[in-house]
Each structure stands twice: as structure tokens, then as C-alpha cells.
Symmetry: C2
């Protein structure tokens, strides 16, 4: 045999894992001519580069070889305690460092939870639409998805009740500034969900990468964390400090479950980069993290405003948009029957990119929706990108040139 | 329901994943009173701390936010090319950067290969004994293991032929300075194995974390890399630069297979820490890597010598040891019927630690062998640790006090 027949060798799990849009998105975002609202990148201006460099110098000088050596699977004890302390003090959770497992980004937490919980055919409840990276991670383990419609208030409780009639291993939700929609769950919705889940033997995975990035309204309690025995809370430093370091964590009060997650982590990558863990920990010790988060949030507020203003100005009225109160994304709904995916190539020709809705759904195609990211472009660039996109939408939806349409709105400032 | 019934929720794969000895090993190694030959830690004195700090300062100043941002799954193109270049120039492989996938340590490569190739019940050929971290990674995917006896020359070809009669997805081997035995495959054995595998549709995973650490003899060609279509070669910077950064790689000339491995990686952790990738790449550009490896190897040669000398001096003659020509480990075989595991607690009482043979085997218990690591202790400490272990072995095996026995060897230098 001179060539390898790979198809004969592949596992069922990899056959069921869709190659993600994310890679293409990042490739697209790499072309400097294209204004990309497609990625999920934090604004690089928010990375505390000088402070991080100072921390690097400090930890290398102080801890020497320890920041370069193999380490323990659960994570740097100091960082686990710093995470626990913050959730005790700021979010009122009664947890210790034993309840914290450091992960190689939140993406790894999604993989580990699936690995530990899912047999092929097991039920998983997800939001509809849901984060594509989570769908990809879960898909590897061939579950049966039960998508529950996401409304302006959160998961539709009636649909959730229906989904809960199936045997389900876990429910995955992003209650604050959801990816892809930017929507958040209301206080009533959270309470209703908690009630519905309270007598179920399942894990509630609350993914909270964006909760800190609130620029409007006040923080609402977690659905499960500190309240439901099957709660697993995911957090990350990717959106507030640096994503490139791949430092996330999961918080789980159930010792048996966290022990299994640790075994799965050990088998997956032994431990998360220990230098990165020292770095984040040292950064937290020597900087005003809350003030830093406030500055990130203030920036994203301006960027979100720039995008929604530009949408009002340039998009046809038949196109609807969510109005996020935090986070990095908003969600555009086109008139029924208009596939966002079908617009993607034309958009690239106009040098603007977005994520068509399709990859956020299970088995739905030509969805009339798209995700826009506003965190990774300056306000004038956001305006220009939305102008280009508006031009396309007017042409494709209304069959009319946006330029002509625009002239009727002279009162808008440029 | 007030408590979570975790047992009802666990997947079959996690039920089949043994909690590894590695964690306990690292815990043991953390007690400063114990001389630990148990871990697989590089000597921290070999970490080029100053050069790495200089690289950190350079890459933060030069590439700024790019070292902190999200990045592409396959890895930093510059690092992939640097790896490919080295394997072209130094090892004669005809590969490009497209054939290189950066992984979060080699452990992740083991997980990804299993994820992509293994359905429950699929065959995997392993060495007997084999690396415990690999057994743990593979076990997650519930294969049927076909262990093939490892001899002084490599895998026993006759036993391999038997194993190849089963349907097998991949063969996993560490041909140089194997973990746990320290043994290397002879040139003839490599050729024989290549011949046996040449007409088989399977993947040959050649794990090569230690090949650079040769202190005796000359390098032998890879079994599969550049020669067999199903070859996957694993490498890492963990043993030559720093393990804490978790930067490994796999080399695979089959584009279809590497594409699937990339999808699996994306679903597992999006990408490996990009700062760490820039760091290793910059380090390679600005330092004499070959000279650094030579200095690591010279150190390990002295340490290996110290350990084998001390074994000759302090162990009963009925105890056999391999004589590694590189790498970080050697393998002790006790007389038949003596369980190394049964000695572990007594060894800890004497403040010395090793890894009993059991976790390197599938379903064998009370193995009469142990792994000793010599890379992470200075020569006088190695001598003292082996002296303590020898004392224990004399007591348990020969029923005699080592101290008395020792006095009959006055010619050995102390």
C-alpha cells in the first residue's frame, strides 16, 4: 500500500465534527482591506501590554524555573485562589480554590465537559441560536441537540419544559450578552429556569465570557452558580486581559464532577501553560483589574453605539437588530427568505465581513440572520463597514441603490 | 432533587480513563524532603531563563498586541516553518510548514490522534510497557490495546506480526530512549518494522520527545517519517527549552489527516497559546539551539552515569537496569514475583520515590519493574537516592541490610 486511505481510519466523532467557520473568519479578518465584523476578537487596544510585560519580568525574576517547568493539572494554586476570591467577593459565591479548574481557554472547558458527560445519543439542551464553538465542541461527542428558542428575555420556558422531557446530560447557556445574539436573560427568566431545573439531574453549564463587559443596566444573579447542585460556571481572562494566553477556568462545587473533569484535562494536555497562569495571577495582584475592565467596557459601549447608530442610518428598515447592553456582538435579522449566507460573497467584494447565521444552528441552512462583532474595529471603521453592508442590503433586499436612499437622510452626521 | 447524581451522568469514555499516576508523581515531587526519581521533569537548570526573558521583551516590543490576540488553529506560521526547516535540514524530511500542526504539548497530539482515529473497540498497537500518559489519552476513546513486547532492540517483530492480524487504527511507538524503559530501537528493527507496516492501512505514531537528548551513539532514521504514508511524527520543545509553555507539534504529510486533526484541535482549544509560540520561535532565531541541546545532553549524560554507577554500587545483583544512551529514564527489573508497587510506601518512608511499573501496562498488576528518572536531580542527590533505594531493595529482596552488604565493596569510590 503506497497511499494512506484516511477515510477508512476516521472515527465517528470526527465525521460528526463540522470544520468551524471560526478559522475562515480569522483568515478573512487577516486581509487588511476587509472590515471584518466576523471575528470574535477583543479590541487589541485593550490588552494591557506594558503591565503584562512588567509582570513577565517580575515572575521570571521571582519564580525563575518554576514558571517554565511542568506543573499540576488543576492549575496554579495562587490563580485558583484569586479566581475563587473574586467570585466570593464580587459575585457572592461560597467557593474555594478546590472548586476552580484552570482550563486552556473556555473552549477546553466545553471539550472537557462533553468528554466527561456525553455518550453518543445523549441529550444536550442549547440555545437557538448558540455559540458555534460550543456546537463544534459538543458535536465531537455526537449528542442529540435540543435547541430551545432564545427570546429577548432568555430561553423560552415553555420550549425548555418540552426539551426537559427528553433525557438530557447538560444544558448550555450564555445568559449575559449571548454569542451570537448579544441578548441577556431577564431576572424573571433566570428564576423560572432555575425552578424548572431544580428537580432535574443534569448539569447546567453557564458560560460567562462576557458578563464583565456590561455597559448598561446592572448585573443579574447567575442561574445555577451557588444555587443549583449541577452548576458549572465557565469564565475566562480572554475578553478582559488577553485571549492569546488561553487561560480560562471552570467553577464547579461538585467535587466528584470536578475530579472527573481534572482527569479528562490531564489526558488532554496535562496542564495549562504555567507561565501564562503565573502571568495572569501576577497581573491581577499588581494592577487595578476592576478599573481595567471598566475601561474596556467604556470602549465597547462607544463601539456598540457606533454600530447601532450606523445600522439605524444605513440599513433598510426591514432589517432588525438586537441592542446589546454589554459584550461584543449584535444580531441582525433579515426579512424572511433572505439568506445571510447568500450575501457573504457579495459582502467580501464590498470588503466587509460578517458571520452568516447558519453555523449557530443545528441543521438549519440559509438562515435570515447574521452576527456582527463591534469590539475589534474603531468607531469610524465601524461606520464605514456598516455603510458598505447597508449598501449591499439595500441592493439585495430592496433592489435599490443605498447611495440614492442615503441622500434622503442629510440630517445624520458623518 | 437537592444533590447531583454524578454517576448517572458520566460518559463511558471517562469511566474508562484511569486517573493517572502523573498527578500523584508531581505531588510527591513537591515534597522537598523526598528524592524523586518519579517525575518526568527536565532539569530546571537547563531552562534558558535569561534568553527567554530577552525573547519576551523582544516579541512584546516588536509584535505588540499580536502576541496577546486570538490566532489561527494550525499555529504561528513562522514557528511551523522553523520546525519544518529544522526537520528538512537536520533530519532530511521533505516537509513544508503545511505539514506541521502546533499542539498544546505532545499530550494534546495524543488526544487529537485518538479523537480523530478511534471508535470504541478499535485496535491500537502499543509497546509493552508504554508511556502512561499515552495510555491514559488513548483509553479515553476505549480502544482495544494490542501490547507488543519491547526488547533491547525495539518492538518484537514476531509479536508485532501477530498484533497486525487484528484490525488496527494506529501503532504508537517511542523509538528513541523510550518512556518508561530508556530503550531505543536498533537500525535493523526499524527497517523490519517499516517493512511490516508498509502494506498496512494504519497510522504510525512515532513519538519523539527525547530523540534530541542522545548522549551516546549516532542518530538512527525514523521508522515512518518520510518513508511511510501513514506516518505521524510527534515533537516538542518541552524537553529542550521549556515544558511549562506547552508547545509541541505533529508532523504529518497526509493533508487529509492533518486537516481532520486541525478540526479536532480547533474544537479542543481553538489554538495553542500564541505568546508561547512567538516566544519559542524568537528563541530559536536568536540563540544557538544546537549548542543549547548539546549542553542539556551533556548534563543528562553525567546524571545518567551517576545513576547507573550508583545502581551498580548499591542495588543487589539480582536487580537489572537498562543503560540508556539518551533521554531521561531508565528501567529497573526486579526479580520475578517482587512487586515494585508493594515497595512504594516503604520507599517514601525512606524519602525516595519512583514510578512502579503498573501504570505502564494494560491490565497488569504488581509488575516487577519501576521507572527511574535521572534528569531532575543533581549527581550527589542521585547517588543518595539510589543508595536509599538500594537499602530498601536489599532488605526486601535479599532480606539483608544493605549497609552491611555495602561494606564488602570498599573499592567503589564515594
Amino acid at each position: 500500500m503506497k497511499i494512506l486511505n484516511v477515510d477508512q481510519l476516521l472515527s465517528e466523532q470526527i465525521r460528526h465534527t463540522p470544520p468551524s467557520f471560526i478559522r475562515n473568519i480569522l483568515n478573512t479578518a487577516a486581509d487588511p482591506e476587509i472590515i471584518s465584523f466576523a471575528g470574535g476578537l477583543p479590541n487589541p487596544a485593550t490588552f494591557p501590554e506594558e503591565a503584562l510585560l512588567a509582570s513577565m519580568e517580575r515572575i521570571v525574576c521571582t519564580y525563575k524555573s518554576r514558571v517554565f517547568q511542568y506543573s499540576v493539572t488543576a492549575g496554579l494554586p495562587e490563580l485558583r485562589e484569586a479566581v475563587a476570591l473574586r467570585y466570593r467577593q464580587k459575585f457572592g459565591l461560597n467557593i474555594g480554590s478546590d472548586h476552580v479548574l484552570i482550563t486552556t481557554g473556555s473552549q477546553q472547558a466545553l471539550d472537557l465537559l462533553s468528554k466527561v458527560l456525553l455518550n453518543p445519543g445523549d441529550g444536550v439542551i442549547i440555545e437557538k441560536p448558540s455559540y458555534l464553538g460550543a456546537l463544534q465542541a459538543f458535536s465531537q461527542y455526537r449528542p442529540v441537540f435540543h435547541p430551545v428558542e432564545l427570546t429577548e428575555d432568555g430561553m423560552d420556558p415553555n420550549r425548555l419544559e418540552d426539551a426537559l422531557r427528553y433525557p438530557v446530560k447538560f444544558l448550555y447557556a450564555i445568559p449575559d450578552f449571548q454569542n451570537p445574539t448579544g441578548l441577556s436573560y431577564s431576572a424573571q427568566n433566570r428564576e423560572k429556569l432555575r425552578e424548572l431545573l431544580s428537580d432535574k439531574n443534569l448539569v447546567l453549564v453557564e458560560d460567562d465570557p462576557y458578563g464583565e463587559l456590561r455597559f448598561e443596566g446592572s448585573r443579574l444573579p447567575y442561574i445555577g452558580a451557588g444555587r443549583l447542585p449541577g452548576s458549572v460556571l465557565l469564565g475566562t481572562f480572554s475578553k478582559t486581559v488577553t485571549p492569546g494566553m488561553r487561560v480560562g477556568y471552570l467553577i464547579c462545587e461538585n467535587k466528584e464532577l470536578i475530579r472527573h473533569l481534572s482527569v479528562a484535562k490531564e489526558a488532554s494536555d496535562l496542564h495549562t501553560n504555567i507561565f501564562a497562569q503565573y502571568l495572569i495571577w501576577d497581573y491581577l495582584q499588581h494592577n487595578d483589574y476592576e478599573a481595567h475592565i471598566a475601561s474596556v467596557t467604556a470602549l465597547y459601549k462607544r463601539q456598540a453605539q457606533a454600530m447601532t447608530d450606523a445600522i439605524d442610518r444605513y440599513f433598510p428598515p426591514s432589517v432588525k437588530s438586537t441592542r446589546p447592553r454589554g459584550g461584543m456582538f449584535l444580531w441582525i435579522t433579515l426579512p424572511k427568505g433572505i439568506s445571510a449566507l447568500s450575501l457573504f460573497t457579495s459582502a467580501l467584494e464590498k470588503k466587509v465581513a460578517f458571520v452568516p447565521g447558519d453555523p449557530f444552528y443545528i441543521d438549519e441552512r440559509d438562515v435570515n440572520a447574521m452576527r456582527l462583532n463591534y469590539s475589534n474595529a474603531d468607531c469610524p471603521v465601524i461606520e464605514e463597514g456598516i455603510r458598505r453592508l447597508g449598501e449591499l442590503l439595500w441592493e439585495k433586499i430592496e433592489g435599490t441603490k443605498a447611495a440614492g436612499r442615503m441622500r434622503t437622510f442629510p440630517s445624520y452626521p458623518f
